[in-house]
Amino acid sequence: MDFTYNDEQRMLTDSLRRLVSDSWGVEQRRERAGQSALDQKAWQSLADLGVAGLLVPERYEGFGESPATLVAVHLELGKGLVSEPVIPSAVMATALVLNSANEQIKTECLPLMASGSLVCSVAYLEPGQRNACRPATTHAVHEAGSYTLNGRKKLVWQGASAGKLVVSAVLNGETALFLVPADAQGMAVQDFPTMDGYRCADVELDHVVVDEAALIAQGQAADDALASAMDHGVAAMCAHAAGAMDRLVEITAEYLKTRRQFGRPLADFQVLQHRLADMLLHKELATSMAYVAATALGESDAAERRRLLSLAKVSVAQAGCSIGQSAVQLHGGIGMTAELEVGDYFKRLTHMDFLLGDTDFHLRRLEELLEG
């Protein structure tokens, strides 16, 4: 156990912090979130620092970094509410593809993903689903050297930014995963803004035909690959959220020191001091749970890995909710407006509860483990 950043981690996080502070100011960030299309320059600047290739092993031209580095990086991204598709592409899709036995896909895609020239996202949720990550109504049929996909996927994270989508489908009663170009014939991608400054897409697949080589995995291997994507996504998101909390506590403390009421700075009021202290407390515990999530990724026992990740997810979501509410309350009316960025953090921290399995889902997993 060692919590000190090594030299590489220190350099990486320092560079990232500078980049984010230069290019993820509130106006820049909001403008990009208002667009359907990916801002290539912003994305490339992240990729250039290694963010896109962090989890990609060196043999696929990435950096093969540890889960610990993943936490360090996503803490920084969270501080700046970076909304580019790091989690869907560089974390989830990458972890998923890494689980594939299809060496061709790995050789073709991973280097492109690591360099930033290919963005992917995982299209796994279907209408009527909330936490389930198995496909139900999207079907794949195998004939004549190709697969034909039909179905609908919803809430695909930054789906409209992706050049390729990992699509889950039912194939012969089992889960199968396909890598589908976003512009394939029969694909209809409808993009929406989200409450928390991301984008998401509904995807309709109408007789989409892909090559046999597009099969990433099927059966247990596909379920495992999807689970790995979720596991990595949860860990990254916990760190992202902890980073966002860190910055939100800073912003709030600064406001309390500056703003005066009844002739004194707000920071003089003991009740507000204590609420700020509670925010810091929750932030420190959430950061700790982001570390726990990272340790989970290195855990070989699947039940224990899920247990730790679910513990982390529930805990971080709860801390985010509490810190977000407190930040707005401590700012008073002005915290309710879009003029400050307090609300941006609040909304990001709120919606993370629902992404990648909500609190009820993760508690259920934990409760099942408890009973044994």
Binding site: R130, T194, A338, L363
Partner: protein, 396 residues
């Protein structure tokens, strides 16, 4: 002490319920239940329906055109209207400046304005808060300078709810800059349909624009529009803020949102199962029912004792009402879950051609959660209310 409803009270409840069912326009009811934005005309239509029935001012004495109802009747009326899907009554005239005019205004001001409030001939708004003076009214900076014909007002007001529709503002302005902070403030009625008035909407977290900033730039106010005496506005302001003791709890809102929550929970499937079967959600709904029942009984106790001065109960009602409204919004969001993620403020407009990808209520559920955070801030933050309570107990 008699803890049962008497026959008259029961009959009155039925009368209101049936009236709302029969007379509330269906399109308004739908908007309210779907949490869509109401427009100016929606409010006015409902007020005029009530006025036609003689119920235009439930909290006013008969002599001013009010119903003369007692506090229990007003409470029953509020709950039944809200449950039936009616918009809330605009508080600016009926609940705020109206009662002040009745108590402190000249006969001519009363004649000029009061009866028009029942039918919303004038849309009133509040001019209390200023940037830099949230819960701290004493530090307000807007100035009214005396000229030969009246006052010239300069300053900036903020958090002006629905100010974008307003014809008139009741405004606190400093008329004596030498006096102590709480002295030297006057209450003026300002016609907003004149040059020098600029209204700028403030976009809130959920993308809504219910509140506004209002700039007053050499705005004219004739002497006749001064309420009461010059420099005594602080007294009127306190009366205005302290006047309504039970409405602040939002009990009607709570009842309606609980109904909506239960409907959502029954209709929404979570991975194939109705949300209402979820053990955690069931407990949360039960617990919020507890909170609402307790709040309502406390309201009844306060309303029944309304001859006593305002005690800590008024602050308790404000605190709990806020929390319950926030919890209800949070639960609605939880029921809809990840489907609340996609969101565009235009989906909240009733006539939006497109209302988002999720289920009928999904987008509004999350927007409502963010919007409701305001309830523990406006009208005296929860922190301010607790300090008031503590002072009453500790006598400090």
């Amino acid at each position: 002490m008699d803890l049962t409803w008497n026959a008259q009270e029961i009959a009155f409840r039925h009368e209101v319920r049936e009236f709302v069912q029969a007379e509330l326009p269906a399109d308004i009811r739908t908007k309210v239940f779907r949490h869509q934005r109401l427009d100016k005309n929606d409010y006015i239509r409902w007020h005029r329906v009530l006025a036609a029935k003689g119920w235009g001012a439930p909290n006013w004495p008969v002599e001013f055109g009010g119903t003369g109802w007692n506090p229990l009747q007003r409470l029953i009326f509020e709950i039944e209207c809200a449950k039936g899907g009616a918009p809330r009554l605009l508080p600016f005239g009926l609940g705020m400046i109206g009662p002040v005019l009745m108590k402190y205004g000249s006969k001519s001001l009363q004649d000029r304005f009061l009866s028009r409030m029942l039918t919303v001939e004038d849309w009133w708004c509040q001019g209390y808060s200023e940037p830099g003076a949230g819960s701290d009214l004493a530090s307000l900076k807007t100035r009214a300078t005396r000229t030969d014909d009246g006052y010239v007002v300069n300053g900036q007001k903020t958090w002006t709810t629905l100010g974008q529709y307003a014809d008139w503002m009741f405004c606190l302005a400093r008329t004596d800059t030498e006096a102590k902070p709480q002295r030297g403030i006057s209450l003026l009625l300002i016609d907003l349909r004149q040059p020098g008035v600029t209204v700028r909407p403030i976009r809130t977290l959920d993308g809504g624009v219910d509140v506004n900033e209002v700039w007053l730039d050499d705005v004219n106010v004739p002497f006749e529009n001064l309420v009461g005496n010059e420099n005594e506005g602080w007294t009127y302001a306190k009366y205005l803020l302290g006047h309504e003791r039970t409405g602040i709890a939002g009990i009607g809102h709570c009842h309606r949102e609980l109904q909506i929550l239960k409907t959502l929970a029954a209709q929404t499937l979570i991975d194939g199962e109705p949300a209402i079967r979820n053990a955690r959600l069931k407990e949360k709904i039960v617990r919020i029912e507890i909170d609402i029942v307790a709040l309502e009984m406390l309201l009844l106790r306060v309303a029944a004792n309304s001859d006593q001065g305002p005690g800590p109960q008024a602050s308790i009602l404000k605190i709990r009402g806020s929390e319950i409204q926030q919890d209800l919004a949070m639960l609605q969001m939880e029921v809809m879950g990840v489907d609340t993620w996609p969101y565009d403020p235009v989906w909240m407009e009733a006539d939006a051609a497109f209302s988002g990808p999720g289920a009928e209520f999904a987008a509004a559920a999350s927007a409502g959660y963010f919007d409701m955070r305001k309830t523990s801030i406006y009208g005296g933050t929860t922190e301010v209310q607790k300090t008031i309570i503590a002072k009453m107990i500790l006598g400090s």
